[in-house]
Symmetry: C2
DNA sequence: GTCTATACTAGGATAGAC
DNA sequence: GTCTATCCTAGTATAGAC
């Protein structure tokens, strides 16, 4: 029961976009990666942008699933945030969604940019809500701006990938994550 | 006295790399941007990788200059860090050095990766030292790991660009910066 | 639906004139 | 040193057979 051509094209394109971005992803490479022929691709999709959009939507969907799962667990706010940040990640590969922010073709086209924007909005909303709960529970300092902290945490993840890739080592990513978590922890009202 | 062809090729390539990355930067585009002819390019450089390396080195050099300037000012540790984070930046354009971490061709080649790695090392070192001074001066909590905080701050900058580009708005970048600074401030020993 | 054949443009580099 | 002409391959898409 091998997956159908359409599915394989989406997944092949998704992988290539993740590794090489929009310009770096050629139809020829997609066909080779997906193991289908030229005609099959143009039967299922209008062309490269159409196929890319489908692949982006898939990546965004997967990211949103992982976010939902990570934040659905029981625990304190700090535990849930720590859990999401500590998820198993192929750090040197980076983020399949964040990678696309580097592509001018994607950023310049509102349709192609939408899945990226939405995935980050969903992450921000989960972080925001969790941080607000933590503040309410006295876990974090009450004078923190929840949107600012949420953006800082999301940025640490994305930027952590960049630092790690530059060093070709996972350590800078892990350090950055531990750093922001230690700041969050230390921000706790003196009660603790 | 227009700049010579060599200089214009480096600057044109630097701009294109910044916008479009390695695969997205074609010799043809470089020539158009630089206003020189084909022969001129292959006279001064061995080919695309050689020219790209020169352009990368220029970007890394500029980044290191800006870092040195920002951290050379008088002030508390927090003021110097805030100063660097608040530097004037074309946020939606992103980081000319960080952009290249997305390129597999650059990351896979140690020579092409070196300028990126070094620029981030220099930034890390300045942040690390400044944070250590802040801890010594009682500005920040003493139980913070300076390397972790330095990595977190560097990551917020790079990740902030990604968030801003995804939203096509500067606000997420600014929020992330304010967020990490507020955590740093709030981490201060209760003395304040 | 999927394949192969074909077409056209652009990427990347060389040769040789000036 | 710089330019134009030329070359070959790969990117992107269409046509039409099976």
């Amino acid at each position: 029961m091998k997956p159908n051509a359409r599915e394989r094209l989406i997944e092949g394109t998704r992988q290539l976009l993740w590794e090489r971005g929009y310009v770096g992803t050629s139809p020829t490479a997609i066909l080779a990666r997906s193991g289908v022929g030229q005609g099959s691709m143009y039967h299922h999709f209008d062309g490269k942008p159409d196929l890319v959009l489908a692949a982006e939507q898939r990546s965004a969907e997967l990211m949103q699933q992982q976010i939902a799962e990570a934040f659905a667990v029981e625990g304190t706010a700090l535990e849930r945030i720590t859990g999401y940040l500590g998820r198993e990640r192929d750090v040197l590969r980076g983020c399949s969604v964040g990678r696309l922010t580097a592509d001018p073709e994607v950023m310049a086209d509102d349709t192609l940019r939408a899945p990226i924007r939405e995935a980050f909005e969903v992450l921000h909303e989960h972080l925001r809500r969790t941080i607000a709960e933590g503040v309410a529970a006295g876990e974090f300092a009450g004078d923190l701006d929840v949107d600012e902290i949420a953006s800082a945490i999301a940025a640490v993840i994305q930027g952590g990938y960049a630092l790690a890739r530059a060093a070709q080592a996972v350590e800078p990513f892990d350090r950055a994550i531990r750093g922001v978590l230690s700041l969050l922890r230390v921000s706790a009202p003196r009660a603790n």
